[in-house]
């Protein structure tokens, strides 16, 4: 088995790297139970991926323990409560980014490749050592951005750094937390604007959705909830595209809605209002 390694990165903090990693990992594991997936939380000192899955109380060993040889990889991996084919290698909370180096990460991931089909790396914010540790063994990168100036600028910087790596890393774009209403009123850049600026292939668009916060409160990724919800569906679509399925973008702007149906809804709303 030679597992593929995918990096989730953004440059800027707070754009949803960890949320995207968790939701896409959960959707991938749920859509194919034979696919063994390992997530690595690379944010040493600021561990958070465990929270997304409600696994914060199950951590015994961590990434730094494995790299330093304190324990075996198997001892540090935490299995998800719902999905037996999904594992987390948690980050250390008491150390910092310099506790590991890129060579050690390549060695560790080469080992994991023999046991897992897919290795998903949750990168810390910034372009310093934490980033280089995370990118060292990546085959592909998913660049998470928002349709906001600073997030797009930082994403461009990250793409530039990844392009300067001697190894070719395929870059994909995910636009997170898009607000369709603001795009419609021209108060937020749209999908096409962001693609035009960054010039990389689009993997998906995730609409803004308050249920993401509720899902984190419960420790269960939204993409596992099979309701016809916005963001959850967007993550499930991204997971399908990652496994080769061709899917059109979700209709978050309501453009494909039947005009007749729209009028009917308006009428209904009007009647209700009265």
């Amino acid at each position: 088995m030679v597992g593929k390694t995918i990096l989730f990165t953004s440059g800027k903090g707070g754009v949803g790297k960890t949320t995207c990693t968790a939701n896409i990992a959960a959707a991938l594991a749920a859509q194919d139970h034979t696919m063994n997936i390992c997530m690595i939380d690379m944010d040493i000192g600021l561990r958070n991926l465990d929270i997304q899955f409600g696994l914060e109380n199950r951590i015994v060993y961590n990434l730094v323990d494995v790299v330093e040889g304190t324990c075996k990889i198997k001892q540090a991996l935490v299995r998800d409560k719902r999905l037996p084919n999904l594992c987390l290698l948690p980050s250390a909370q008491t150390r910092d980014k310099s506790a590991v180096n890129p060579e050690q990460m390549i060695e560790l991931i080469d080992e994991l490749r023999t046991q897992f089909d897919l290795i998903l790396i949750d990168c810390p914010a910034g372009i310093e050592q934490g980033f280089h540790n995370s990118a060292a063994a990546a085959d592909e990168a998913i660049i998470i951005t928002l349709a906001e100036m600073s997030a797009v600028r930082d994403a461009d910087r990250i793409i530039g750094i990844l392009e300067s790596y001697p190894r070719k890393i395929n870059c994909w774009l995910v636009i997170n937390r898009l607000n369709p209403g603001m795009v419609k009123t021209n108060d937020m850049m749209g999908v096409d604007d962001v693609i035009e600026i960054l010039g990389i292939r689009l993997l998906g668009v995730v609409p803004e959705d308050k249920r993401i916060i509720i899902a984190t409160n419960k420790g269960e990724p939204l993409s596992l909830n099979n309701e016809n919800d916005w963001a959850g569906q967007a993550f499930r679509n991204i997971a399908k595209r990652l496994t080769g399925e061709e899917l059109p973008l979700m209709d978050i702007f309501g453009e494909n809605q039947n005009i007749f149906l729209k009028q009917l809804k308006k009428l209904k709303a009007l009647i209700k209002f009265k």
Partner: protein, 92 residues
Amino acid sequence: MGLLGWLTGPPKEETSKDEAKKRLQLTIFHDRMEIMELSPDRLEALKQDLMDVIAKYFEINTTGTECTLEQDEKEVAFVANIPVKRLKGSKN
């Protein structure tokens, strides 16, 4: 406002999105230049180096030389325009 203006409505105001996009494109362009370490001074030095090399083979018009950085969707391109008078070493 003439008849045409009346028909087409008032000129469209620039939306905050347009402003963001414009500012962002310019910022990213400058970021990339800085990362490539191409400050105006270095650009001038590059231009001189280029002309020195070209001058070995051609007789060139030094005043008409232009060097610019142009940006398309994917990357910034370095474009040099050096007018050539004649090939060096040729009889005429």
